[in-house]
Symmetry: C2
Subunit: 304 residues, 2 copies
């Protein structure tokens, strides 16, 4: 049981209506590892600069994340993102992005990562995603995330990698843009003709929807968050929950994916209740179970 993940490791400066933080641990691969390490062993492919703090390495060490694939560029600086969220926190507004060592990132896949059970291709340049996909040669499934920037700027390269993966994870607006169709139901079904067996559509405060072969379809609301602190990394911790649950089950199937999405909704709901990685810091499997029981109470259809 192991998952290889490729994506960014970053230092984030974030302001939300709940407060402000500077240079905290962030990035796709780091948030993914934060939740996925609750259930799985993680192999990390990423890059940082020599300024990456000691606490960052400790973070990976404590989560038992394998960092052989983490490049440390001795004369470089770590990727930095600075941004804020307004009122309803539906959308991050970027103040400053410093790609730094991420600009020339060429993922190197250690031999021992090859043949990992699952591979998560975090939101990076689709050409790099393709490169990693071909090198890792996963056994059980590749899961891909992307964003509007790549849909707009590298659509053909993105379609090439989508063709060869099993699960695509994206948000509702990205789905609309990618498929050029405003109807989510129609767009989700059409997306499966491009290659993936399954599409998981994240809808933020409105939950998530899964599209599968034939008429396989599953949709569920979000867990209600009373005090949203910081949405940064919510999508990545959702993906981490999803892929690690599949890894724990050992097989990609519609039934397992349904359960994986349910689990992921709960795990990522903890993530947004604090800044950065703190939300999941003390979460136990009992906390997850308790919240899931509450979630079921909130959503289980009665007989009518």
């Amino acid at each position: 049981m192991a998952i290889t993940v490729v994506g960014s490791v970053a230092l984030d400066s974030i302001r939300t209506p709940k407060g402000e933080v500077e240079d905290i641990l962030g990035g796709t691969a780091l948030h993914f590892s934060n939740s996925a390490s609750l259930l799985s062993e993680i192999n990390l492919i990423a890059v940082v600069g020599e300024d990456f703090p000691k606490e960052g390495f400790e973070f990976f060490y404590n989560k038992k994340v394998d960092v052989e694939g983490l490049q440390v560029i001795s004369d470089g600086k770590t990727f930095r993102w600075k941004g804020y969220y307004e009122k309803d926190m539906a959308r991050a507004i970027t103040i400053d992005t410093q790609l730094n060592v991420f600009e020339t990132f060429q993922p190197k896949v250690p031999d021992k990562y090859c043949g990992s059970d699952f591979l998560f291709l975090g939101n990076i340049d689709p050409e790099l995603q393709y490169n990693v996909l071909k090198q890792v040669n996963h056994k059980k499934g590749a899961i891909l995330d992307t964003m509007n920037f790549w849909i707009d700027s590298k659509k053909q390269q993105l379609l090439k990698v989508i063709k060869d993966i099993q699960v695509i994870v994206l948000n509702d607006q990205e789905l609309r843009d990618l498929m050029e169709d405003d109807n989510i139901i129609r767009a989700g079904k059409a997306l499966l003709h491009l290659g993936p067996q399954y599409a998981v559509v994240k809808k933020g405060e409105h939950g998530a929807t899964i599209f599968g072969p034939g008429d396989e379809y599953f949709t569920l609301p979000a867990y209600p968050i009373h005090e949203l602190f910081d949405p940064t990394g919510a999508g990545d911790s959702f993906a981490g929950g999803l892929v690690s649950y599949l890894d724990k089950k050992g097989k990609l199937s519609f039934e397992n994916l349904k359960k994986a999405v349910c689990y992921a909704i709960i795990v990522s709901s903890f993530n947004v209740e604090q800044f950065g990685v703190k939300g999941l810091e003390k979460v136990t499997s009992k906390d997850v179970k308790d919240r899931y029981r509450q979630y079921a109470k909130y959503t289980t259809l009665p007989e009518i």
Copy 2:
């Protein structure tokens, strides 16, 4: 078992990506009656002009809607709305509104409507809603719908009527505006401090959420619509399904309201598959049951 409804009866001209229709039967009270009459007896309080077509009266006759409270103004014209929907049909764009007889509408409540089990106060001027509420003197519950126009222009009058009703039905944006809070969870809970026992928040393609006393909370996704034809009246047919289900159960309670919302989601899903009232024309209770079974399959949480 009877429901009294007050609201508009209109002639709608609608264009959607699926087609265009002119002067078809519409309006809050009419769409409400269309779905509610599947389960209940309806008393109608509304107004039309002398131009209201024969098919309109036949519609009410066929649905066994009592029209003693329907005023026909002999020298007046019926309320008309003309509008269109773009691509994703998330929002109606008004081309023309002719209030006509609706402008001076003074609801008259026939004696026999007094003491109705349930009362639905459709989206009209909150002063008229209050007036009808006091006259009807319902036995089991008043359910109120409203819209941004009244929240913006007559907030104090709206708060006065909200104080005395049991269930408020509104969409997510209206909830945000009314409570001046972008967090739906917090806003929904706060709304209950203004009077109602329950708040039902409609979220369109994202389903609906119920807030009740204490930590009573229930949320569910929409039924997936593959071919949305015309969203006009969706909210009213949802309300009709909801109130008629409560009426059939005979009692307002959280459990009954949960079931009522589930039923309402299914009933209103038929409504949007055709223009105007046609979507529900041939729907049987078996159709509703079959769709509900499918809906449960799409949404029932697995054990994880």
